[in-house]
């Protein structure tokens, strides 16, 4: 879907993207990274809004340096910041955006009402945008990007500034609209849960470099919650007793550590009891939860 080769983007002395190379497949892709990682810069380069200092970018099979305007016919963009005019109604604004994308008035009007219907906007769509809540403004921002039926939709921090309820609603809307309109999604965010909820693939960027590109399901599988133990003698007996209690239990044994899946606080009592039975000395016992956040932080740091 998007291929970037050795892309460098510099703003004066600051390097926003540093020899960035990535091949982004079709589907719903998340770009994760802390603030200032280079996510928005990459999105803007892929949109053709800004030029890279060097490197090559291909979007939907077309080279960006030659066809940036033609490519924009196939893509939609929802910026991070508030950028919708207050003095227009939701309907007027979407029709205008449809027409600026190249739709005729009739199609733009029809499409506007269809999208706003999917976004569950009723009579409020005829109100001035300045009267809208934060969630409604985000919906309008999303709708304007989808009005011309793009193949690919860039979403830059779509849940930014939303309360938890509005955030979940927005993610659900993105999921729903992307699925029913067969639109590929590139979601740029620093919120891990947004990627988990929406995306198939995740790309993590930090300091302008690609850190990781992985299937979200695979990444989720890497989430573990274990109790890490260091024991003295008779460790074999200790492990046997633990396995007797639950033979399906996945016990990881390394030279230094034994890791037992954490189920609940009873797991600690069970470990102490097994150690006592095996006359095995417990030196250390600690719960180690490897969450998506940990994986992300590990990659970013």
């Amino acid at each position: 879907m998007i291929e970037a080769k050795n892309v460098i983007k510099k703003y004066g002395q600051v390097t926003a993207l540093d020899d960035f190379t990535v091949n982004i497949p079709k589907g719903k892709i998340g770009i994760l990274g802390p603030n200032g990682a280079g996510k928005s810069t990459f999105v803007k380069i892929a949109l053709g809004l800004i030029e890279s200092t060097s490197g090559e970018v291909t979007v939907l099979g077309e080279k960006l340096d030659k066809n940036s305007i033609a490519i924009r016919r196939k893509i939609g963009y929802m910026p991070e910041h508030d950028c919708i005019p207050n003095k227009m109604t939701g309907v007027e604004f979407l029709i205008e955006m449809g027409q600026v994308s190249g739709l005729d008035y009739q199609t733009a009007t029809q499409r506007t009402h269809e999208i706003l219907g999917h976004l569950r906007m009723g009579e409020e769509k005829y109100r001035l945008i300045e009267e809208y809540s934060g969630g409604m403004r985000q919906k309008i921002k999303l709708a304007q990007g989808l009005v011309h039926g793009p193949e690919l939709m860039f979403l830059d921090e779509p849940t930014s500034g939303l309360d938890p309820k509005a955030r979940l609603e927005m993610l659900d809307t993105i999921n729903g609209l992307a699925e029913i309109s067969n639109t590929n999604v590139l979601l740029s965010t620093h919120i891990l849960q947004d990627v988990e909820t929406v995306c198939d693939y995740v790309i993590i960027i930090n300091n302008g470099k690609l850190q990781i590109k992985e299937n979200v399901k695979e990444l989720v599988k890497r989430q573990t919650d274990t109790i890490q133990i260091r024991v003295g003698e008779n460790s074999d007996d200790f492990i046997s007793i633990l396995k007797q209690n639950d033979n399906k239990r996945n016990i990881e044994i390394t030279e230094r550590w034994i890791r037992i899946p954490y189920e609940n606080d009873e797991s600690f009592k069970e470990i102490i009891s097994a150690a006592a039975s095996a006359k095995c000395q417990l030196y250390e016992m600690e719960r180690i939860a490897v969450t998506m956040d940990n994986i992300y932080l590990e990659v970013v740091n």
Binding site: Y11, K44, L47, L49, I50, I69, A70, R72, R73, I75, G76, Y77, P79, H81, D82, C83, I84, P85, N86, K87, E96, M97, Q99, V100, S101, G102, L103, D104, T107, R111, E114, I115, H118, Q144, H148, G149, E169, D172, T173, N175, G176, E179, I180, S181, N182
Partner: protein, 305 residues
């Protein structure tokens, strides 16, 4: 909620036929023009009315004998239509023309910059220059409406008074083309100045005040300095008039009609002579700088957000 979504097949299989880039730009421009003429813009409509009224009233006052050209003094010849714009003493529409350009153009880019919707426009299949053209079109068409149309109306009226004599048309064919050219020249110039102020001062009302104040304020200051320099017998005094946008545009406008350029300083007409290459070169440089500045301001917006 996702499962609740009703999937309309039409929505799912939407394969749009998108217009060409040129049509998108033209469409944006025409919609902008339509907005300028909407009833919400009472100030704009009022000024348009005033310009038409003033033009026709002035035409009636001038009388048909002075048309198309007359002698102001032994050495100066001017034409009626030029007076509409060339000299406030005779014309008077120019102040309204500048006022209209200032008010109507002030929001064109300023509003997009202010609410940041410019990012959404520029993410569409148009370039930055396309966007600028689309924003110039509304004010350009508006200026054409108040320059070309009234002048044409007067020309047709003259033709009618000549008893529809075809010789009138052949005798004045250059006047007709020059009238149109002059109006286009003023329209495009004030349109570019307008969007420059609109982009540079991204507040609608401030941009309008700055446009009008700069154009008329500098003109007044320049005239005072011109008088002072003349009083001191400084030979190069004429060149100071080039600093005034109003005088500068008038100089080129007079050149279009191949008429001697004169300014009226405190009621006295004075002939000014410049080389054609100088004024055309300066005009090109000035307006290229304006467009470059607007382009730069917009490009900076793209980078910062």
């Amino acid at each position: 909620m996702k499962s609740d979504a009703k999937i309309a097949e039409k929505f799912k299989d939407f394969t749009p036929t998108l217009d060409s880039r040129a049509n998108i730009v033209l469409g944006m421009g025409l919609r902008g023009f339509e907005k300028l003429l909407s009833l919400k813009n009472k100030g704009t409509l009022f000024l348009i009315g005033i310009i038409y009224l003033w033009t026709f009233a002035f035409y009636l006052l001038m009388g048909e004998d002075s048309y198309p050209c007359t002698e102001v003094s032994e050495e100066i010849t001017t034409c009626t239509h030029l007076n509409f714009y060339g000299d406030l003493q005779y014309g008077g529409t120019r102040i309204f023309l500048v006022m209209l350009a200032a008010i109507a153009s002030s929001g064109l880019i300023a509003n997009d910059l202010n609410d940041k919707s410019i990012h959404l426009y520029l993410s569409r299949p148009i370039s930055r220059i396309d966007y600028l053209i689309a924003r110039i079109i509304p004010i350009f068409l508006l200026m054409i409406t108040v320059t070309v149309l009234p002048n044409l109306a007067i020309f047709i009226s003259q033709f009618s008074k000549s008893g529809l004599d075809l010789n009138f048309l052949s005798d004045n064919k250059w006047t007709l083309s020059n009238l149109i050219l002059q109006a286009i020249f003023y329209s495009i110039s004030y349109s570019i100045i307008g969007i420059t102020f609109s982009a540079a001062i991204n507040r609608e009302s401030l941009a309008a005040v700055a446009f009008f104040g700069t154009v008329y304020g500098i003109s007044l200051i320049v005239e005072i300095f011109y008088e002072m320099m003349n009083g001191m017998d400084i030979e190069q005094a004429d060149y100071i008039l080039l600093l005034s946008i109003i005088h500068f545009l008038d100089i080129i406008s007079y050149n279009i009609f191949n008429v001697d350029y004169f300014v009226t300083i405190f009621g006295s007409p004075v002939i000014i002579e410049y080389s054609f290459a100088l004024i055309v070169g300066l005009y090109a440089l000035l307006f290229f700088s304006f467009i470059t500045l607007v382009n730069y301001i917009i490009s900076q917006m793209e980078v910062t957000k």
